[in-house]
Symmetry: C2
Subunit: 487 residues, 2 copies
């Protein structure tokens, strides 16, 4: 992690990381052009997606051994049963379907300087579950199957800059989790590399300045989950002697300036890193969390209904699983079938922020999810599908949901809808919010929540299994807030 001072991490390649943080230069927004390009790509990469019964799925079938829904190659992913037992919360013992994909996915973003301005190479990528036909994606989005060739398709573009074949400077290289509610211990390798070669042009790829890319985060369902998580992992700490320079760019006392101040580590944390890490160890050690694979038919014991046209929960909660057939003209393979998971309702992901002693802090919680790799990861203040808790006893209703749903607009610093990975999730849309609360806001009643600076969160993003996928999305969204969008 190169040079570290205080609670901050200054990466080896800190020059590039700081320029990434600031996103300076070029035309700050190119929203209309980017939308046009996405629309053109959406037409060209058109995916035709139709539901099919499980029994009609080519190459996929329920395995005699344990009933899991798997591909004939044994690769890609499967839908299996998972038994979870805990000693806390509303539901403490259940069996659910879950996506099992042991291999680590590959999310890679290329950055490059043009005329002194840092650009990222965004991809317009179609996925069967996408709400818009295509969304902005990382340069590289691949499974290990992709790059070892199990897909029997074409080679993955630009992979040579991520595997050492062509020279590049690594800014980010860390394994991070995906949604633990739907995936069993799934991780992706998040990489950002700076390249120095001239890269070939391709209609599915487009250079955007960092600011142009972030501006797209103000639009619903345009920047995909994979790009959001990669963006979040770029270090944000700045050497103390540069902090004043960096902050002088934004109006003093503005929310933008206070947010950036917290990201660059210029402030004083209310909780030091030692105490935060100890809190994480404590919660992980105290919570009982037993995951055990089960035959898929056992999910029926917990109210799941299996039919040929799909799996759903009898209370119409959580999610459905069904098969689709996907036809395309532009992909590694021309058509395929696969299961998709369709969340039954929308998620609410809200991060409350507050000034403590002149430094902006975010209220994170330690949240356990069925398929989590470790017992708990840091999650937004509110992280739930509220409808799943409609009939929950008051004591088990997630903290701050009502506060967030009724918060005055004047406190809302960011509010947009984004979708999760369209390769696995069907039209899943979640609301991401950044909300400022007054200084007298008291969080002491929520024992699983703690105040952290954004710098502390991004420091932990240098390691695996601390910060969950939704906090990472909000970190990316927050970067769209502090980035100057006017020259």
């Amino acid at each position: 992690m190169g040079d570290r001072t205080g609670d901050r991490t200054i990466p080896e390649s800190s020059q590039t990381a700081t320029r990434f943080l600031l996103g300076d230069g070029g035309i700050p927004t190119a929203t209309a052009e980017t939308h046009d390009w996405l629309t053109r790509n959406g037409a060209e990469q058109r995916l035709e997606v139709a539901r099919v019964p499980f029994s009609a799925m080519d190459r996929w079938s329920f395995q005699p051994e344990d009933g899991r829904l798997a591909h004939e190659s044994g690769r890609f992913f499967s839908i299996e049963g998972l038994h979870v037992r805990t000693n806390f919360g509303w539901r403490r013992d259940w069996i659910q379907p879950i996506i099992v994909q042991p291999e680590i996915g590959f999310l890679g973003l290329i950055v490059k300087e043009f005329d002194g301005v840092l650009h990222v190479l965004a991809q317009a990528k179609a996925e069967p579950g996408n709400i818009n036909a295509v969304q902005l994606s990382p340069t590289l989005q691949a499974t290990r199957s992709n790059y070892t060739g199990v897909h029997r398709g074409s080679k993955v573009r630009f992979i040579e800059y991520f595997n050492g074949t062509r020279p590049s400077r690594i800014l980010v290289d860390v394994l991070q989790s995906e949604q633990g509610a739907w995936f069993l211990r799934k991780r992706n390798r998040n990489m950002v590399v700076e390249v120095f070669d001239d890269l070939p042009e391709h209609p599915n790829f487009r250079w955007l300045t960092v600011a142009q890319l972030r501006a797209m985060l103000h639009h619903d369902n345009v920047v995909n989950m994979d790009l959001r998580t990669v963006l979040a992992c770029v270090p944000t700490a700045v050497e103390r002697d540069r902090a004043d320079d960096v902050l002088a760019r934004l109006p003093e006392g503005s929310f933008q300036a206070r947010l950036l101040h917290s990201f660059i580590g210029a402030g004083t944390p209310a909780n030091n890193m030692n105490s935060l890490l100890s809190w994480i160890s404590d919660v992980r050690a105290r919570r009982e969390f037993v995951q055990r694979g089960r035959p898929l038919p056992d999910i029926e014991r917990s109210g799941w209904i299996r039919r040929d046209d799909g799996i759903e929960h009898e209370e119409k909660k959580y999610f459905d699983v069904f098969g689709v057939t996907v036809a395309t003209s532009d992909r590694e393979v021309n058509s395929w079938m696969q299961p998709l998971l369709s969340p039954a309702n929308n998620g609410l992901l809200a991060l409350l922020v507050k000034d403590i002693g002149g430094t902006l802090h975010a209220l994170v919680q330690l949240r356990t999810e069925a398929g989590g790799m470790d017992v708990a990861e840091l999650a937004p203040t509110v992280h739930c599908q509220p409808d799943n808790y409609a009939d929950a006893p008051e004591e088990f209703r997630p903290a701050y949901v009502d506060y967030v749903l009724n918060v005055p607009r004047s406190q809302v610093r960011y509010d947009a809808w984004h979708s999760e990975e369209g390769g696995r999730f069907y039209r899943n849309e979640n609301r991401y919010m950044l909300i400022e609360v007054p200084a007298d806001f008291d969080a002491s009643a929520a024992p699983d929540h703690r105040w952290m600076t954004f710098d502390q969160i991004t420091y932990l993003l240098g390691h695996s299994h601390y910060v969950n996928i939704h906090v990472r999305s909000i970190i990316a969204c927050a970067s769209a807030v502090y980035t100057r969008t006017a020259g």
Copy 2:
């Protein structure tokens, strides 16, 4: 992690940590007295251990559901089947028995200053698998079952200093893995706390200075695994302006001084932390590593033999599992039965160290183990039971085994036998070695190995799942090498 400079971590409680590092004051060794005390305790805590057939085990039985050997309460641990599939190494697809213990154990060490000298409160603890009747253990060694009372026994002594009931200063609080070859994703919470209360005396507990404790690491099978891992997690980085002071205590140019120089982070690493973390991500992403629970009887497909008197492998390799009955007069419960795992042969854990540019570096490898939490953790240069590879093709023989077994004594800086956790493993004895290799020693042929400073290793010990249990043991042993044993 308090204040960090360079690649080093200076803990909040850096004063105490530095004093722990140096282990100054008091009588440096008390070996005879400590042995006497252990012998007395061994007589008083006498455990009578006898093998029993599985069918005679009280409260333990093979579950109809999947054949696992489990306790009637569903707690403690169980012996289950695990299917592992990889894309590298000699064995790539096998089913084995494994200990499943989802709950996180608790290993806590109390330190306290007496007359300006830091002491640790060691426990003389008997375990059924111990080679000596009792070994030096942490102050607190408990399962969650212990402290939630499932054992139906007495309360765990001194737990109030670890759970916040009584005031203490936390020096270490991190989850670390156990042996992945034998345990499925087992972790322990490693804690070191400094206390300020006067503690009651108890015949099973004894205050030792840090140097006195470390001196015992030169003796075989005296310091148990749990104490070794906790000792290893104490931060060792020292502020740069104190480094000269610290090093002046040892003969200039001596191995002791060069070792301490590497531990305190005074040197220049050959590989920066960014590149090391990227290497870890790369190996974890590339290695296929699929773990899947299986019914226990399926282990027979991989050559395991199940009989009422035990489970063993047909090649007499790996390990046996059998039941024991344990009778005691001094424990939370008076007698019990349990399964134990007995490794079929001794392990060799050797860490090669080399001077690179004036800084001592250790050669670590990324090693995958069947039950590992993540794909791979840092392991010693040599980490294996050599007999398991007696018939391995040359290309799959672990690197450097022959080098270590034939190394001249003049290069051996540490060499002792230690045993693994006697609560699970029956008389398992492993050889731990620290070996210095000449400057022209070339490790470039071993692609899974990297040179790291000891400071870099102890920095990573501030987080989970980087450094495996055997490296932690060697880190503890190394502290016995650099600690002054003459006043």
